[in-house]
């Protein structure tokens, strides 16, 4: 009797303790989910509101119906305040895709050399490239700007309003991370397979092409997506290097629309939705591969 009483008390005690813990857990989880998801909900839902709903006396939490007013302003040439956002989408693609492709190609070559080949000055090289992580973009933009202006003057290209120059500066920002991530991955591929192929008479480049690359596809995909994301989202360099509205990438254009004298948050939210959704879809569909790269510094900043 005494014993069961004690047991019961114990169980009650455990139950109350566990529910308290569970309660705190549930509250915390809900808090996180709400504070993360609400801004994203607000972005998408605001993009479907009318100007009246946006500027009313209180926020409209659920839009009355899906109105495409904001999207029309961005994309429909017959709209009175047409923003020609299609051009900005295209510019972003023109910058982001080449950055990703070139960064992957160069990083494959470089990281293969670091992971597999012996050469003098390797450590110095690796450290020098990683030091790049330390330098703030804002510190580099002044010398880059004046340096490229000088070189451009001599060779004959414009620094401003030149998407090619932008790709180059993005490569400098993304290559160190790409190199670091790929080197780590190549080190996990056993060397024996490659040695066997070398003994069979393959050249180094054949080995890279036929053996290493097929084995490294997941890493290549995640490096490509990271560099694509960095170039897609980049603000500062594009902001300084681009002046003409026809060459603006999406982030700069969104900043311009927000700072327009007549405030139109629904249009900004529509443009942000257009910019954000592809990135989020890409990331979520490959989250399994990508999450690891995040903590390796895939997204700097």
């Amino acid at each position: 009797m005494q014993n069961t009483q004690e047991n019961k008390n114990f169980l009650d005690h455990m139950a109350s303790r566990f529910s308290l813990q569970g309660f705190i857990f549930a509250i915390t989880l809900t808090f996180f989910l709400v504070s993360i998801l609400f801004p994203f909900y607000w972005m998408v839902s605001s993009s479907f509101k009318t100007r009246a709903e946006i500027g009313g006396r209180e926020p409209v939490y659920i839009p009355g119906e899906f109105r495409l007013e904001a999207y029309q302003e961005l994309l429909d040439p017959s709209n009175p305040s047409f923003q020609n956002f299609g051009v900005n989408i295209w510019n972003t693609i023109k910058v982001a895709v080449p950055t990703a492709v070139i960064a992957v190609i160069l990083a494959v070559l470089g990281s293969y050399a670091i992971a597999r080949l012996k050469f003098k000055g390797k450590n110095f090289m690796v450290n020098a490239i990683l030091v790049v992580y330390l330098f703030p973009g804002i510190l580099l933009i002044i010398p880059l700007f004046s340096m490229l202006a000088r070189i451009g003057d001599t060779i004959g290209f414009d620094v401003q309003d030149n998407l090619g120059v932008l790709v180059f500066t993005y490569l400098a920002q993304t290559l160190p991370v790409a190199l670091y991530m790929l080197t780590n991955y190549f080190r996990t591929i056993p060397d024996e397979i490659e040695q066997a192929a070398l003994i069979d008479g393959c050249s180094r480049l054949e080995v890279i092409w036929r053996i290493t690359l097929p084995l490294a596809v997941p890493a290549l995909v995640s490096v490509a997506i990271y560099t694509l994301m960095i170039a897609w989202n980049e603000f500062l360099y594009a902001f300084v290097f681009l002046n003409s509205h026809e060459l603006f990438t999406m982030p700069i254009k969104i900043n311009t629309i927000w700072n327009d004298p007549s405030p139109r948050p629904h249009v900004v939210m529509a443009a942000s939705t257009i910019m954000t959704v592809p990135i989020m879809v890409l990331f979520l569909s490959l989250e399994k591969y990508l999450a690891e790269g995040l903590s390796a510094g895939g997204v700097k900043g």
């Binding site: 989880l29 989910l33 050399a113 020098a128 010398p143 989202n233 900043n255 948050p265 903590s295």
Partner: protein, 321 residues
Amino acid sequence: MTALSEKPTAVSRRRRWKSKDAQEARMAWALISPTALIVFGLVLFPAFFSIWISFRDVTLGNLNDVFNAPFVGWDNYRAVFNDFAFKWQGWGSWGAAVTSVVYTFTATILTLVTGLIASLVLNRPFRGRGMARAIFLFPYVAPIVSVAFVWRWLLDPRPSGVLNDVLMGMGIIDLPQAFLSTRGVALVLVIIFEAWRYFPFAMLMILARLQAIDKTMYEAAKVDGANTLQQFWNVTLPELRYVLGAIFLLRLMWTFNKFDDIFLLTGGGFGTNVLPVLTYQFSFKQFNFGRGAATAMILLAILLAFMVFYVGVVMRNIDEE
């Protein structure tokens, strides 16, 4: 010659090995040189060039002839230290140097704590955990421009701003407030934004470490009668010490260097002007590139001083413990 190739001696074998090594090294240099050229040309050289510019008078007029810009000694640095936007002028106006340090430390610590809580939540098994983890990464993965403007829209000074509506509904404020244009409030909001956006980075790293902790340590602690809080304090936290130290350093560095977030949220106004934004203003608003470069060098110097202190003193103490 034929005799040598038929009967390899030790010398010739070594020579052949050596030439193979040399071949490999040449190959390696060929493979890595494009990357090295871009990184050295567009990052390391500009970084040193920045030091040079900070001692020169470079404006829009002589930007095309920058290599002949006149030498001005420490003038740029003096001008920055005496600038009202830079120096401390009492509690009403902190100046960018103090604001930067306060902002960076508070935001980093808040990011770290938020990331720790998030990782503890996700370390507990529950249904839909994979989904929750993916959602937790949203703020970090989404483009900075989008999330910054969503926040500005949530904090909008008009009555249609969500925070205004919520606070007025709860009777905390009577009239709509311009939160991001209020000194003090703006800085706090920018810090909260940083934690909201960057906690997933801390979370992922802590989570990876949490899952590697030996489970028997918790069982041993339970046998010793430790409750959940004691287990966290005496088992979990010591195990996380290194990873927390590493995240702290990385986040501190990145936050200190960060331009986009504050520029997009407040433009550096209302007591939120930090060194990267000040650098931008000197360079691309006043077109005084020399002064901008000097500001950037001061930023880098503060950062380096802190890193040397942190790695040399704090990390060593952790090692000795």
